[in-house]
Structures are given as C-alpha cells and as structure tokens.
Point group: C2
C-alpha cells in the first residue's frame, strides 16, 4: 500500500488538471461537468452510480463494478445508452486524458428531464455521466495506522430497504449526512448507522466488518453489497478465517476485537475507536492488517485488473 502517485502522466491533456468528465457524449474538464437542475437525477435524486478505482495504471475489478452499475440501472428501470465495452472505453479515455495512474472513477445514470410537462418518468431519456479524478481516500493516508474514529449514531437510522433499496447504489444520503454531523458533534468523523431493529447497516460510504469470536462478520441486509466487501470476504476465506454476511446487532459490533470499514475509496480501513472507546487495544489488529495488505496486493493480480491504454485508442 502506498499513497498512490499524484504526478500526472505525460498523456494528461491541458486543462484537465482536476480530472476529466464525460457529459453529453463528450470529454470535458471535470470542473465543467454539470447536470440540469430540472434533471430528476437532481430534483428527485432519481439516479444511480458506481465507483471503480484505477491503481497502478489499471482498473480494479472493472467488470464487477460495471455489472453492478448495469444491475442498478435495470433495478431503477433506466436504460444505459452504452454497452459494457463502450463504458470501459469511455472510462479509459477519461483516465488517459486526466493523466492519472491512480484514479477515482465514477459512472452515473440519471432519469433525465421531463419533456413537455409529462410527469411519467418512463418517458424520460436517461442520461449518462462519468468522471475520473485523483484517487480519493475516505481515511487520509497519513492516518492509515491511526485508524477511523467511529460512532454508532443515536439520532438517525438508516433508510430501510422497504423505502430505498440499498443494493442499488444511490445518492439518498440524507441519513448518512445526519450521521456525519452527529459524528462531528461527538468529536469523531465516521458514523455507523443502525436499522430500526438495532442492527448495523453501513456508514457514510463504507461497509463495516467486525471480528467476533474468531469469525469475521459484515451486515447481510440494509447495506450496499460493496465490491471491496466482496473482495475482503474472498480474501478472508483464503486466509482460513470464517467470514460471512450476517445479522450484526449493535452488541455484537461492540464485542468485536477488530473492526474495519471497506470502500473503493480507501480499501480496508481500520476502525480503532468506537464511541470514544478503543477497539481492542486501540491499534490496527493483525487480521485487519493482513487483509489490508492482501487487498492492495490483489491490485496486481491480472485476473482482476484491466490496464489502461495510455497510448490512446
């Protein structure tokens, strides 16, 4: 694991210092990427998205992310204007134009704009956006071994699946933002939200894992089925650690001898304090450390990487 390179490759185009975006079928500097305020992707948050990382010049698990994105669009009954191959081509172009060896790459599909005052969303033309910017760390690199200071929120519950399906990646972050504010108010930064039954769901952009009695648990329901979460479950199995999605009541979380969060934006991130108390001895636990190392090592596995063709199409 390293911080990744912030240096731009010589393929970077002038004007694309902050990143590159795909809007209306063309590549533009990311700062110019905008959506109409009457696109219901904004005005009703009728939108889905996905995020894939580029690390060491290659996409990691690109097919997994694009497959989930296609599934999210289908789940919302949206139609993507691009095939998977076209999507992969667009994303590679954005990364190349932005000159990034390590990148945070987001794809977005909005419902679109009502035409002629017609309210029926089935009649809207769905719209595709994408952008590539320097890799994002939810936990700053300098704090990788300090870890996350997490709180279990008391003032807000996760939006239930009966209202918004969390397996369709979405921008309904009102509850997560409330959680973020609660965390800050309590002197921490990383909220963990429960469902109405007091079970752990997820945090503001990350899945949660707990090592309890030698078993690695992560919430089975009420949460995004993260790709990093999936990778960690695979790696744990390879390590011989029993690991599975399960019900994770708050009390079990508190019994965890190691806790960590997972996200494409940061990988495996140790949670070293919970509600102001140290987790275990307050340091990064051995399993967390091993999984983090294996997670980054997996980025060199050609079975799961898609090199960016920086020479251009």
């Amino acid at each position: 694991m390293s911080a990744g390179s912030a240096v731009r490759l010589p393929t970077a185009a002038p004007g694309y210092e902050e990143g590159a975006a795909w809007v209306d079928g063309a590549c533009v500097p990311s700062g110019e990427a905008k959506v109409s305020i009457v696109d219901t992707g904004f005005s009703r948050s009728d939108v889905t998205y996905d995020v894939v990382a580029v690390w060491g010049g290659a996409f990691f698990r690109l097919d997994d992310h694009l497959e989930r994105f296609e599934r999210s669009c289908a789940g919302l009954r949206m139609t993507l204007a691009h095939s998977r191959e076209e999507l992969a081509g667009i994303l590679a172009e954005l990364v190349r134009v932005a000159g990034l060896r390590e990148a945070y790459v987001e794809v977005i599909c909005t419902r679109g704009v009502s035409r002629g005052g017609v309210r029926d969303p089935r009649t809207f033309e769905n719209r595709f956006f994408a952008y590539a910017v320097p890799y994002v760390w939810l936990l700053p690199v300098a704090e990788a071994d300090t870890g996350m200071d997490a709180v279990v929120t008391r003032t807000v519950r996760r939006i239930p699946s009966e209202s918004v399906d969390p397996t369709i990646k979405n921008f309904h972050w009102g509850d997560l933002t409330r959680g973020l504010y609660e965390a800050y108010d309590r002197g921490a930064r990383y909220p963990i939200l429960l469902d109405a039954d007091g079970r752990v769901t997820e945090g503001a952009g990350y899945n949660v894992f707990a090592l309890v009695d030698g078993r690695l648990l992560t919430p089975a329901t009420g949460t995004l089925e993260g790709i990093t979460r999936r990778v960690v479950l695979e790696l744990a199995e390879q390590e011989g650690i029993p690991a599975a999605p399960a019900d994770l009541p708050e009390a079990e979380l508190r019994r965890g001898t190691e806790l960590f969060a997972t996200s494409t934006a940061g990988g495996v991130m140790p949670i070293t304090s919970l509600d102001g108390e140290p987790v275990g001895d307050g340091r990064v636990g051995p399993l967390t450390r091993r999984l983090r190392e294996r997670y980054w090592a997996a980025h060199e596995d050609p079975r799961h990487t898609t090199p960016v063709d920086y020479a251009g199409a």
Copy 2:
C-alpha cells in the same frame, strides 16, 4: 379556478421562453441552469428546496414559503447567502424576466462542493439556486373534474422520519418514484405511501386529505407540512368543518367519502378513485369542490399575496 395564462407578458426577455433561473448570482435562461455533478446537493442529495406559486401576477403566501425554506436550511445546518427580502427580490426578477403571470417558482440550497478533498460538510460553501417557469399542474387542468386515480402502494413504504425528516423539504424521492412506477404498473398515476405502521403519509409531491364521518383528516406525521395543506385546514375551519392533522390508518382512508390531494402545483385536487374503486360516487365531492373554489379565491386576498412588480426594480 382557471388554467392560468400561458401568454407571456411584454416584460419577458428574449431567450427566456422556457423560464428564468438564478445561478451564481445572475439571471440566466432556465435551460442553462445547472449544478456541478460534484456538488453534494447532487452527489449526496444534500439539498433542500421550496416551491411558491405566482397566480394572477402575485406570489401566494410568499412569506410562508420563504419562512419554511429558511427553516429547512437551518434544519440541515446550511447558511443562506440571502436575506428574506433579497430572496423575494430575486424571485420577482425571475418572474418578471420570464414574463409569467402564473408561475411555478422554486428556491434551492445545496450543501456545495468539497474543497481540497475535505469531507467535512461543515466546511462547504452552501449554494443558492432559483427558477421560475410556467405554473405546473400535478393533475392536468383538463382532468380537474375527472380527478386523480390513486393507489395505496404495496411495494414501497415512505422513508421514515428517523432517517430523513420529511418536514425539511427534500429530494429524497426514491420511495416516491418507486410508488409512481407501481401506480403506472397498476394502471393509475398517483401513489399514496404508507409508513411502517400502515398509516398514510403522503404522495409523490402532495399531501392527502380524507373526509371521514364528517371530519376532514390529513396525516399528522411522516409527511411534509405543506403550505397548501395549511391553507386547506384554515379554509375548512372557516367552513365549520372539523379538520385536523391526525393519524390516518389505511382503513380510515378507505372509509373516506371524499378524498383529495393538495400541492402548490395544482392546489386542491380531487381523488376520485382508489385502487381502481370509485371514491364515494366517483365524482368530485361537495366539500372538495367548495375547498377548491375557496382555495383559488384566497389567491385574491391581499393579506396573502405579494404582487410582482413587472415594471422592474
């Protein structure tokens, strides 16, 4: 009640045929009004808004709407860059430039854009947008006496207040959009969502009222405290009809001899069928009709109207 005038006043500026918007402190044609795709108002739906109508050349209940908007911003801990007087001035300018005698006027405040990768939303500069477009009818004018075909949704529940506060007007419409799709799938157009306890909450942009045993009921919790809802409660009281926010279980809704919806985008809108069955005799009921007439008559009451100065500032 009339359809309102679609004719533009001579004050309309060229290029503003579709409406006028306020973006980055300047007036632009509404079609050009866009928000950055990295503004968390889009990417986390961290945003609030309000809608006020202009009817017969005057804002209706402008102070009520702006007061609620200010309260919504405060509830999300956002800071508005404009005083109430400045907001009123901006909105009047948009209506004048768009040349509208009847208008749908929306104000929006987004959390804004992260600067330098800082995730703490408290550090973002909140952003204000507004636009004025021709008045919007949730129920087409031609169907005012046909009424709404509503369904009580079976596949989705309203997002609970413990997750997202519905009294802070928000774009978390994922559940409402699911409800819209269910309604269309069932051959109707207007969903009514229940909460987890089976109580009526609201629809996709409207409050719901039921006349039950001579009492006019509207959900007390789990719903936006609509301004039109408030006006209707006042008018009913003036009519000598007992009316109050209350628990409204689904079974009570079904006992309603008259049902209607309320919204700034359409006023008082009769619901004449529910799950394919006629409400009462399937025609607009006498109380609904009377309240609708009084609602539109109230738009001529100088106590609640703010004339637009079309001559300009």
